[in-house]
């Protein structure tokens, strides 16, 4: 499968995850979100950027429970809870946000 953005085709797996992490860019993230009917706000970007940093440090996309706890520590309890994160990413916070972040599906994802 592939997704075309600004005239360039990006290879993805059958669930829409980017095949080559290094090809990621902001426009691509926006386009992936648009396909899901989601407009990326500042709150979305906070999570997406967090995931990219986490992957950069640990070479792993965190499971939803791990993400929730880590967001809570970084951005405060009002954001580090399932309700807030599921409102932003109804298809599953780790799963959906990782996709827009250009990461593989999370390790231990639900």
């Amino acid at each position: 499968m592939s997704l075309e953005v600004n005239g360039k085709a990006y290879e993805t797996d059958e669930e829409g995850y980017l095949a080559n992490l290094s090809e990621w860019n902001l426009d691509l993230a926006e386009a992936m979100a648009k396909e899901d009917g989601c407009d990326l706000t500042e709150n979305h970007w906070e999570v997406v950027n967090f995931l990219r940093e986490y992957y950069d440090e640990y070479q792993i996309a965190p499971a939803v429970r791990v993400l929730t706890k880590a967001i809570g520590k970084r951005l405060g309890k009002d954001k580090g809870n399932s309700k807030y994160l599921y409102e932003l990413f109804p298809y599953g916070p780790a799963k959906q946000a990782c996709k827009y972040a250009g990461l593989p599906k999370p390790t231990g994802c639900v």
Partner: protein, 139 residues
Amino acid sequence: MVTEDTNHEGGQVKKFLYLNRRAPHGTNYAQEGLEVALIGAAFDQDVAMAYTDDGVFQLKKDQDTSDIGTKNFSATYGALGDYDVTRVYVELESLARRGLTKEDLMPLVYEDEDDDWEEKPLIRFVSEAELRDIIEEHE
């Protein structure tokens, strides 16, 4: 190795000890073993890790795979604490036989949720005799 405990809600909590005996990079065993343990931990398994034999090489610090073109998954051991894997045992005799010391391993830490997120060392160094007991406990 799996044991079953009954938690206070009456459900079954399985205690897993993952025994890691293989060196990283030459084969996939180490990387896959780590992933399996993390997936189990993400699903609320009570996970402990033990490193013995060539498995101790997995935790060697300064690993850099940029010249062999594989993923440097040694960074992922740093996420064990985030997955609530806080019992990580390394057998001292295995280190010594390989010319390694405690200081050769990554200084892994976890943040203790019950102690105001204080950073604590993740690795517990154990003797052969202690590891024998740990394995038995999980049997």
